[in-house]
């Protein structure tokens, strides 16, 4: 039998309009739940994303370097006479090897020709001293290909004065850590003297400041052009200590790191290995967000259940009369289900709007912290999927909350109501 939706919706609408107060209360319950869900999830995932970006953009997907470590096989292990003996070697020293990556330039060339690789940036890390009068401050100077670094990471965001191009075009330029600049009272355009571990002194021109937000780094680390650092150390153009690789797809990092390690006999650390604990934090935050939202929606669902239940008791006579005049049990059930779904739809859409409004509000609240120089307001993630999930959840919860009372209405025996027994 065909269901006559027009009449059903008309009756549902009339019930809702004449019971405006209950309708509004029920809808507001949904609005509150969905609004809170949207706000929470947007804010939480916004924060997660910001923290992810903070770590992920600063960390290469694969980091290649030469580990200083003892040999796996000590000489005695190679000696066949002691094969069956238990060999104890005391005071094992690291293996004598150079810090530079062997065959760095061919490796770079190979990496850049790989399709999965977005880019590979060479680095040369050097221990130096910053000189300020008679004071020597220990620190690092990292030689980089600054344009490639800017393309592959968000290092540009952390250059608080000057630009990457300034460094690229200034042969003896240095991007000084902001902590160092403050300690030595230096500003852009000044010169700073550095000395190598060997004692050679070089003057460098400050082209900008670097602020990672992590004081321990900003107090010791500066950047210069790769060639400049190679010249300071008196090394050749193939002297490279680290290669940072960025892939198109982060998921391939682990497999590729293992392959590179075997192929080139270097240490290759992938991002998943380096930041294993990070994912855990994100997951737990998401879990909390969803737990809170679901709780709110369940509370809203009980509100709808209660109000519909009351409505059905109030409308017993109406239900009996509808059944007597030819409306079937299913028709009656659909009338009350429609009411629940209309409440869910209106409350849900209103919730999305309020959630969006609150997100905008949070998005515009100032949030300035030294740790994050590029962030000026609280982060919000406007993923449209959250809005789809929100409205689906509103409809689903009101559907379930409406089903039980409406099923009762379906089963009401009109004869008993009309005869008053």
């Amino acid at each position: 039998m065909m269901i006559n939706w027009k009449v059903i919706i008309e009756i549902a609408k009339t019930h809702l309009i004449t019971k405006m107060k209950s309708t509004t209360t029920a809808a507001l319950g949904v609005t509150f739940g969905i609004g809170a869900y949207i706000t929470l999830v947007s804010f939480m995932t916004g924060l997660n994303q910001m923290l992810d970006d903070l770590i992920l953009n600063q960390t290469p997907h694969i980091h290649l370097f030469n580990e200083i470590e003892p040999s796996d096989k000590q000489p005695v292990d190679l000696y066949t006479d002691f094969e069956d003996a238990i060999n104890l070697v005391h005071s094992i020293k690291p293996k004598q090897s150079q810090r530079k990556i062997h065959n760095a330039l061919p490796i770079l060339q190979y990496l850049r020709s790989e399709e999965a690789v977005k880019g590979a940036a060479p680095q040369l890390r050097a221990q130096i001293f910053y000189l300020s009068g008679s004071i020597e401050l220990g620190g690092n100077l990292v030689g980089v290909d600054i344009l490639e670094e800017t393309r592959l990471s968000n290092i540009g965001d952390y250059i608080v004065e000057g630009t990457p191009e300034d460094l690229n075009t200034t042969d003896n330029g240095i991007l000084l850590g902001i902590g160092l600049a403050q300690k030595m009272s230096l500003s852009v355009g000044d010169r700073v003297q550095i000395s190598t571990v060997g004692g050679d002194i070089f003057p460098l021109k400050i082209v900008g400041f670097y602020q990672s937000g992590i004081a321990d780094i900003d107090n010791i680390q500066s950047f210069a052009n790769l060639k400049t650092v190679q010249r300071i150390l008196g090394e050749a153009q193939n002297y490279i200590t680290d290669i940072n690789v960025k892939l198109h797809d982060i998921k391939g990092a682990t497999a590729m790191a293992q392959q590179l390690e075997r192929q080139f006999e270097v240490k290759a650390v992938d991002i998943n290995e380096a930041n294993a604990q990070f994912e855990t934090g994100s997951n737990i935050r998401n879990l909390i967000t969803y737990a809170v939202s679901v709780t709110l929606l369940i509370v809203a669902g009980f509100g709808i259940y209660n109000i519909l239940n009351m409505l059905i008791y109030e409308k017993m006579k109406d239900i009996a009369i509808l059944k007597a005049t030819g409306f079937s049990g299913t028709d009656v059930q659909l009338i009350f289900m429609s009411q629940a779904v209309i409440i869910g739809l209106i409350g849900g859409i209103l919730g999305l709007v309020i959630g969006f409004g609150l997100s905008r509000l949070i998005d515009n609240v100032a949030f300035e912290t030294e740790a994050l120089p590029t962030i000026t307001t609280y982060p919000i993630n406007y993923n449209p999927w959250y809005y789809v999930i929100g409205i689906s959840f509103a409809l689903l919860s009101t559907f379930i909350a409406g089903y039980l009372p409406s099923n009762k209405a379906k089963k009401i025996d009109p004869v008993r109501i009309i005869r008053g027994t």
Partner: protein
Amino acid sequence: MNIVLKAENINKHFRKPVLFHVLKDISFEVKRGEFASIMGKSGSGKSTLLYILSTMDTDYEGKLFLNDELVTGKTRQELSRIRNEHIGFVFQFHYLLSEFSVIENVMLPAKKLAKKSHALIEQDAMQKLEMLNIGHLAKKRASRISGGEKQRVAIARALINDPAILMGDEPTGNLDSYNSENVFQIFKRLKEEQGLSLLVVTHDHDFALRTDRIIEMEDGKIIKQ
């Protein structure tokens, strides 16, 4: 097809609070255009019988025919459809949907049937209201009119789908003598002018005496018809 409604050996038991045989072997018919009344003391089972005849109560033994079609044993969905299309019902207490206007109340069963366009249904409803002299109330809320008016609206609603039979459960039981007389005259007019069949359960002796036929019940049995 001269018989509109036919009951064959209808028996009914109440199971609660104790097993009780309410209707005992009821058999009778209502002819087309006949105005019949069922009389009896309270507890004689007359209302119980009427609700079985109305198809709302399906818990009985025996057979029930409407327009020569066996109704017994059909699904609730089908019975709803039959009630909607072929049976008009008037109760003792008006039983209008108080949140709807008078004309909306009258139109609802026709909208459910959905055989006519909205405009046509509205026209029909207006015509029924005019016929019962309450056309001026059409736009009023059902809760804002008097008891006599409500009963007339209920009659208009019962007639909207041009049913085969109109059933009434003490339709004048709650009305004063003026309004009772009014309702009786309406029923009579419907029978005479439109050939409608009517079956009315009543306490009112004067009312029953003026109908075509009285079916008298006592202790769940028809004692005279």
